[in-house]
């Protein structure tokens, strides 16, 4: 890794970390949704200052170059994040459906009660 690449990667990881932390501070991202983004920033940071670890992983998965390893894991990471979101969206869909049903029935009950009051 050339010093040039190193500096660029370090800056990238630090920017990601700070950006995510700032979003959490402003409550734009909830803590429970921020951890994997913080993780990716941290992983980049570690890979830069401890380059041998990247070479080790490259060896382990049998990639040709360290670059391939980075792309492979970047891709897998994004895949995981998207599946995670699909699970969450399904959960929310179910919750929203139940809420809508409850609101519909409760509104009807309130309306009926009001009409009963009027009749008295």
């Amino acid at each position: 890794m050339t010093p040039h690449q190193k500096v660029f990667a370090l800056i990238t990881s630090i920017v990601i970390l700070l950006f995510i932390l700032e979003l959490v501070r402003k409550r734009k991202i909830k803590e429970e949704y921020s951890w994997f983004w913080l993780l990716i920033g941290l992983v980049i940071f570690i890979l830069v200052i401890w380059y041998d670890s990247l070479l080790f992983v490259t060896e382990l998965v049998g990639s040709e170059t360290p670059m391939t390893t980075i792309f492979l894991f970047g891709f897998l990471f994004l895949l995981f994040v998207n599946i995670h979101y699909s699970v969450k969206i399904s959960l929310f869909t179910e919750q929203i459906k139940k809420m809508a049903q409850k609101i519909g029935i409760l509104s009807k009950e309130i309306e009926d009660l009001k009409n009963k009051e009027k009749e008295k």
Binding site: T93, I96, K97, A100, Q101, I103, G104, I105, S107, K108
Partner: protein, 244 residues
């Protein structure tokens, strides 16, 4: 016939043109029948028109889909302790005169679900060929799985009793279009199903389902749903207590 213990559920989405006429026709047939219109987040005045014709209306805050709207009706019926449920579409597809037959069969025969089939009767039901093909495939598959001839699994013209009501208000119910998968599920839960012939018309309000790429998605989803029923833990909900 006594209709005091029965509720007719009509899920409606933007049906302001059709809903009034349907309610009048139903009231002509069964004047004492309680009717609930579930307004599925319509952007027209379906709810005010339905109220004007003197039926109960539950309005959902936004559109949640046919199945979820129907399930809201089930929940309402369960709260009010109705024994029998009738359900029909608001688009003029289903003939109100058939309601009496559905109700009679659910009350008198030893069955839990009655499905009104357009293909058992001599009717001139028109459908596009991909839709027709989908219907044939899934009626064959359903018949094969539940070891009983089912000709019209897509039909939303049905009657059910309070045992099925309890089952449907639990987790097991699809949000979009309950279809062959629900019939297979009912079979595995130990309910008895019967089809009777009904007159059905082509929907006045076209374009509800099965248009464009939707038939393809429908076929895919239905296969997936049926396979999932086999993979999931069987809902032996009612079979154990089935004393009849």
């Amino acid at each position: 016939m006594n209709t005091k213990d029965a509720l007719l559920i009509i899920p409606a989405y933007n049906e302001s043109k059709a809903i009034g006429k349907i309610i009048i026709e139903i009231k002509n047939q069964l004047p004492d029948l309680d009717i609930l219109v579930v307004n599925d987040g319509s952007i027209d005045n379906t709810d005010t028109i339905a109220k004007k014709y003197g039926v109960d209306v539950v309005s959902l805050p936004f559109n949640v889909g046919y199945g979820a709207a129907l399930q809201t009706g089930y929940q309402y019926a369960q709260n009010k302790k109705y024994q029998y449920i009738l359900q029909m579409d608001a688009d003029g597809q289903h003939e109100p005169r058939e309601l009496v037959n559905l109700l009679r069969v659910i009350k008198n025969d030893q069955v839990d679900v009655v499905i009104g089939s357009r293909f058992l009767s001599e009717c001139n039901y028109q459908a596009s060929w991909p839709r027709r093909l989908g219907m044939i495939i899934f009626s064959k598959i359903t018949s094969l799985i539940i070891k009983q001839r089912i000709t019209d699994p897509t039909s939303g013209f049905q009657a059910l009793n309070h045992r099925v009501l309890e089952f449907f208000t639990s987790e097991f119910y699809p949000s979009d279009y309950p279809d062959a998968d629900v019939i297979v599920l009912l079979y595995y839960a130990g309910f008895r199903i019967k089809e009777i012939p009904v007159v059905m018309y082509s929907a006045l309000n076209k374009g509800k389902i099965h248009n464009g790429l939707k038939p393809l998605y429908y076929v895919f989803k239905m296969f997936l749903s049926i396979i999932m029923i086999f993979l999931r833990k069987k809902p032996y909900f009612y079979r154990k207590e089935n004393k009849l």
